[in-house]
Symmetry: C3
Subunit: 134 residues, 3 copies
């Protein structure tokens, strides 16, 4: 039976429930929905980077990337990125930040779906990703 | 070519459109979005368990698990669980129920994304899952 | 290392950001969220088919299928279809259109999740899909 492995980067707190920030089984690496919390500090409640969309987006992308890297992977392996936004007015700016972030990606970028959903107060964006390894 | 197999537990009615409650192809088993309908009874329209979030969550998780088991799998193979809630105020209680449900899981839990979306009237939660088998 | 390949059907414009309409790595083919834009015309801004749900649904399904075909795949390989609707009142009609579209599918249909989210103005539906090849 294929082993299942969880990944929690040193910058991340333990998830707030019984789920994994990243988990690999076989060739599939799934990154849980990440939001814009800066690196965890002992004893401090997490607060999102901000207040701008840019600050939250960049922190969120960095958090997804940290999970990918912890698993020995990276954006080059990502096949799907889901972006959850709370405001349709953020679409153009999100794309700008996204394009700049991935400017140097040498392989085809992941597929993507952007949907507008509700998120807990203060959060403007959430992103999850699936990667295929090997 | 890899065979594609559909799974419908005995407790489930046929899906309301041309989709499968669970489908496996190669090592991937995908469970369709499940809601809190108790086991199907002939001639009765499905009504969600309830009215509490706990009742719907437990039924929904049981329905996902039934599809996984029908395919010879289980939560230990799940790599991603998506939770769709209609009310951000339900997050903490959802996590409690989730943690209790998975208290005895012996392998790393699946990654998870929780988003707040609209669902048909009366439904508080919907959950889908992807598993990697073999 | 497994090669990563992007697919853009001739009917599609380049994505509005650094993502792929379809991308394959290993046995996984992911189709990005497609909406109801008719085939791209040079110099014209994309406008969704419409104004009916039927027109948008059929165009959206055709757009997903075009990506699958471009990758040498098709609905028979699809394991998951996510339907994003903006209006719960569209569920029954969506199912009718969906069933008619897949009436001749010879293999078990994909799993599906339908959620109600916000989409940019004028869009009634968005669909993404994951296929397992080989």
């Amino acid at each position: 039976m294929t082993e299942k492995t969880a990944y929690t980067p040193a910058t991340h707190t333990a998830p707030p429930a019984r789920f994994s920030h990243g988990v690999r089984k076989g060739g599939i690496l799934q990154v849980a929905g990440q939001v814009g919390f800066p690196p965890a500090r002992d004893g401090a409640a997490p607060r999102p980077a901000g207040p701008t969309l840019r600050a939250q987006m960049e922190q969120t992308l960095a958090n997804v990337e940290a999970v990918l890297r912890e698993a020995g992977s990276g954006w080059e392996d990502a096949v799907m990125i889901r972006v959850y936004l709370t405001d349709t007015a953020h679409f153009a700016e999100m794309n700008e930040i996204y394009d700049a972030y991935f400017a140097e990606l040498a392989v085809p970028p992941a597929a993507r779906t952007t949907v507008y959903v509700g998120l807990p107060e203060g959060l403007l964006v959430e992103i999850d990703a699936m990667a295929v390894l090997g």
